[in-house]
Amino acid sequence: MTGPVSQESGELKIDDSLVPECEGPGAPDYSPVSVERPDSWNRPALIQPSGDGELLEVAMGPHHPSTHGVFRMDVALDGERVIRLRPVFGYLHRNHEKIAEGVSYLASMPYTDRLDYICPITNNWAYALAVEKLTGQEVPERAEYLRVILGELTRFQNHASSIGFLIQEMGASGTPLMYAFREREKILDLFEKLTGARMMVNYMRFGGCRVDASPAWLDQTRKVVAGLPEFVDEFERLLATNEILMARTQGVGVLKADLAVNAGVTGPMLRASGVNYDIRKVDGYGIYNRFNFRVPLGDHGDVYDRFMIRLLEMRESIAILEQALKDIPGGPVMDPKAKLRGFRPKPGEAYGRIEAPKGELGFYLISDGGPNPYRYRIRPPSLINLTVLEDMCLGHDVADVVLIFGSVDIVLGEVDR
């Protein structure tokens, strides 16, 4: 949908017959190119049109390969320059939260796989953690180790493929993405062997994990992990000092630390802006305080830093994996007292959160004593990280918008829920 905009009034002419009738605060706002804003608080100064040409409104998406799914950005352009950007959500909305209110606690576990479908394990983990907080269940040590091992494998493959997609969108068609997917396949094979599914794993339970890992699986995992440093070295050699990549990403999409904290940005994006906040360190959930690892921090908060932070976090994930695979003890993987059927937590509420590969993934649960949750809320890192998308994109070219958006690293299954 593109259309001419009158330069004098800054308004877009729209055919009235296409506009649905509605009033009040929920009414659609069809003035995307208007340079006025209801409240300019804490937002970047808007860029004034140069005045030497027509403004153009372009809907990027929802069916655009660079949007990682179905997501729309309504951008107002002055030539190639973005002067206004408005994200439009909801194309993949199925009201997961409402569905979860109608089924038992356990029945939502497989559904969490479908949130951020690149990282199903960490979704399972966040949900299991919130329920364990609500009921006070203990998790056996071997299960905690398995959670860490699978969680870090998930983080590794998420970061690898997210870098691969970013470079793909930059125009390096195929090669880096295929390098990343080669490693991802090895990790998905491990998931398949352990859980029976490559992506929709449905692995965790309240108070442990569904199945135990065999010694053969652990040996295979050790072999795969032993090969990962070589891949990261290769990836870094291939990309980190590439002249075109540096020219396209350095100084693009800068996010300042104070705005990042205020806007609730989490994960690699927050740390790329130089804020030392990793929930694995802060909360020490699971058994993360037993492992030695560093938190890489960025300096500039641009797209290059976000790319580099993910690369460095992959190395830290390997360090955690090596320690966990060395120390993993024997024993059960489920709390013997854990109840799967007739599971009714006492009335109350709990908020549990983990450091998912994309940021802080939290589950907020309210129990009224029944078998179904009274309220089931997901705090989606992908959606909240997009709050600052406009701030980062203003003043850049359309081609940079694709890169900046790619560097946020979102999955629409989680944005729209």
Partner: protein, 225 residues
């Protein structure tokens, strides 16, 4: 990290008349919360963010909750005066009778905010606000001017629960389309009759299908003539 009681005392010292109540969480998670009066909510939020010791600069999560009207049935013991004939003499005697009474507890909509501190690395501090009722007075003050991370989340709560956040810079529906009328996360939400063909309809789906067919049948016969 301060306890809920200490935070309550600090808020009341900084913002006089803030009207803070502690909401005890009976679950083992021990995450107690504070209920704020809507009149001073923005000042309290600013205090929580800017106070050097609390420094709650990171608003993690904003949630809506629907508490529908509840009909409470309770048994009350009432003393009544009954005239009785005792030993041939008519007397008025007090008698205790059990009565079943029903009363309607009005519902409300609630917004819950989870705060953490990035600077001090502590949290969560949870606070909540309630609307007056579920139908006409559903306004709450928006905290987007204090924490930008509430921007999309408050839009989502508005979309799915119908809480109107006054002072929000851009309050539009987030997930549902703009012409959508209802608020789907409310407990009494009824899905519209947008029946889709299902080859093996059964139970509820079959019932809905039959109702749907019965509703459209007269129109179809009318169109055929």
């Amino acid at each position: 990290m301060k306890t809920v009681e200490e935070i309550k005392a600090a808020i009341e010292a900084a913002v006089p008349g803030a009207g803070v109540e502690i909401v005890v969480n009976p679950s083992v998670s021990g995450q107690h919360s504070l209920r704020l009066a809507t009149s001073h909510a923005v000042e309290v939020a600013r205090f929580l963010r800017d106070d050097a010791e609390l420094a709650l600069d990171f608003l993690s999560n904003v949630t809506g909750i629907d508490w529908p009207d509840k009909e409470i049935t309770e048994k009350v013991k009432v003393t009544r005066q009954v005239s009785k004939t005792v030993e041939g003499v008519e007397k008025t005697v007090d008698e205790i009778v059990e009565e079943t009474r029903k009363r309607l507890e009005p519902g409300c909509l609630e917004a819950v905010y989870h705060l953490y501190s990035v600077a001090e690395m502590h949290g969560p501090v949870i606070f909540r606000m309630r609307t007056v009722d579920r139908t006409d007075n559903v306004e709450l003050p928006s905290l987007t001017p204090v924490w930008r991370s509430a921007e999309f989340q408050e839009r989502e709560v508005f979309d799915l629960y119908g809480i109107i956040f006054t002072g929000h810079p851009d309050l539009r529906r987030l997930l549902m389309w703009a012409a959508f009328k209802d608020h789907p996360m409310r407990k009494d939400y009824r899905e519209p009759d947008d029946f889709e063909y299902e080859p093996t309809a059964h139970d509820e789906v079959l019932k809905r299908a039959q109702e749907h067919q019965a509703a459209i049948a007269p129109q179809e016969t009318g169109a055929g003539q």
